[in-house]
């Protein structure tokens, strides 16, 4: 009975994480399009939500590979997964509150690492995997996207710089619809699968399905729906930071950032070296701004974003570890711990949303 309750809680928490993932990462896809008026805000998030939904059905091959090579598979129990998800959700909500773009994937990995560490000690963590698969790609992604988008916008200005701004801007706005569509599709394919992977891990651990079983349709549909709803809800604070607080961009810069970003994400993923969408798009936005004029980038905002990136894995890990510790107080196989933690996180989230709705609190991601 307790195992059934924990399974239901883990599935609901995984879908809640998926919602915050869509909500948090909407900015990567739509911020530049909204900022350059390529699309009205509601149309942009609706477009991104539909393509995230479609993207979730396109490939299911990575659904079972969450945190492998980083956390020992034997350490992953339902309560570890639950604590890791809470760590990731908490960090996503905190960075949303401050309007800072940060990687949802890194938050999830951090949460799972912290929870597994609390459960089994350092033996459960593969440090080399964490460094090679997560930390080093995170260090590489922003400078790479910065340079590619920077060179891209220099080429764009060299080719179209002497043309009339009106038709050029119109053309680049159309181009942004293509590039943001591609980003949304790619995001849905990559990120909804993390939730599918988490739910399938929980179902296997519970004995509902065996590891060779195909993912049940309800898992795919619910994960796709959660990320699409999150995307449609839109993390407007992060959209504002990405779209207009780092640089004031023109449509050509918006296209260069998104086009370079999409190319970097897909090319790196094809080379077997997946990079964080958030890191790539943020780096590309800064590159497209700095190549036009170095001082056009608000480096104070960029610094705050970089700080959030540095803190993502340790902060989510600490929360995941603490949550696992709290659950353990009630007994590792008891459902009371997850129920209590779920109620606490719901209450904290509601308080955060209310506080934000009233326009109070928090440090803005301003320069």
């Amino acid at each position: 009975m307790a195992a059934d309750i924990i399974l239901v809680i883990v599935v609901i928490t995984a879908l809640a994480f998926d919602f915050t993932n869509g909500f948090h990462d909407t900015a990567n896809v739509v911020a530049t399009s909204i900022s350059t008026r390529a699309m009205p805000p509601r149309v942009a998030v609706g477009f991104a939500a539909i393509l995230n939904f479609v993207g979730a059905f396109l490939s299911l091959k990575v659904a079972a590979t969450i945190a492998t090579d980083i956390v020992d598979a034997g350490a992953i129990t339902q309560t570890v997964v639950f604590a890791g998800l809470i760590g990731a959700i908490a960090w996503n909500l905190a960075t949303w509150y401050f309007g800072l773009p940060s990687s949802s994937s890194h938050a999830l990995i951090g949460g799972l690492v912290g929870a597994a560490f609390a459960a089994q000690g350092s033996a459960a963590i593969n440090g080399d995997g964490l460094l090679g698969k997560v930390v080093l790609p995170a260090l590489m992604a922003p400078p790479l996207a910065f340079v590619v988008a920077g060179v891209g916008i220099v080429i764009v200005y060299a080719v179209v710089g002497r043309q009339k701004p009106g038709p050029v801007n119109r053309s680049y706005r159309h181009g942004q619809i293509l590039s943001s569509g591609l980003l949304a599709l790619s995001h849905g394919t990559n990120d909804a699968q993390k939730t599918m992977g988490i739910i399938s891990l929980a179902l296997v651990a519970h004995g509902t399905i065996n590891p060779d079983h195909f993912l049940p349709d309800w898992v795919v549909v619910s994960s796709a729906t959660a990320i699409a709803l999150g995307t449609y809800t839109g993390g407007w604070r992060i959209i504002r930071t990405m779209g207009s607080r780092i640089i004031k961009m023109d449509p050509a810069q918006g296209f260069a950032a998104q086009g370079a970003g999409a190319s970097v994400i897909l090319a790196a993923s094809h080379a077997g070296y997946p990079l964080s969408t958030t890191h790539v798009i943020s780096g590309a936005v800064m590159g497209a701004g700095a190549a036009k004029r170095f001082s056009a980038v608000r480096w104070g905002v960029a610094g705050n974003i970089a700080m959030a990136w540095v803190l993502t894995i340790p902060a989510a890990a600490i929360i995941g570890g603490v949550v696992y510790g709290v659950i353990s107080l009630f007994g590792a196989s008891s459902a009371v711990g997850p129920v209590v933690v779920s109620l606490l996180i719901i209450a904290a989230s509601a308080a955060l949303f209310l506080r934000r709705a009233q326009g109070r609190g928090g440090i803005e991601a301003t320069a």
Partner: protein, 81 residues
Amino acid sequence: MILVAKIIDTQAAWQAVWTATVAGIAVSLVFALAVFGGTRSADLRRDSRHVPALAFAALAVLGVGATLGAVVYAITLITTK
């Protein structure tokens, strides 16, 4: 240095860097050529210079074709990974 080489897949990382660089810059270039061809073609048509307008229109079509080709290839990558 040897430790770093053991931890990271340097071949995949290097391939990611150069393919991402080439792809990103190529997309910016071909779409810029499409925009350039389109705007120049429209200007020349207004001045009744139909032959050069046609040449720039061809450049625009090539640029748009290459951009759409890149999008289709990207969708193929997304669906087949």
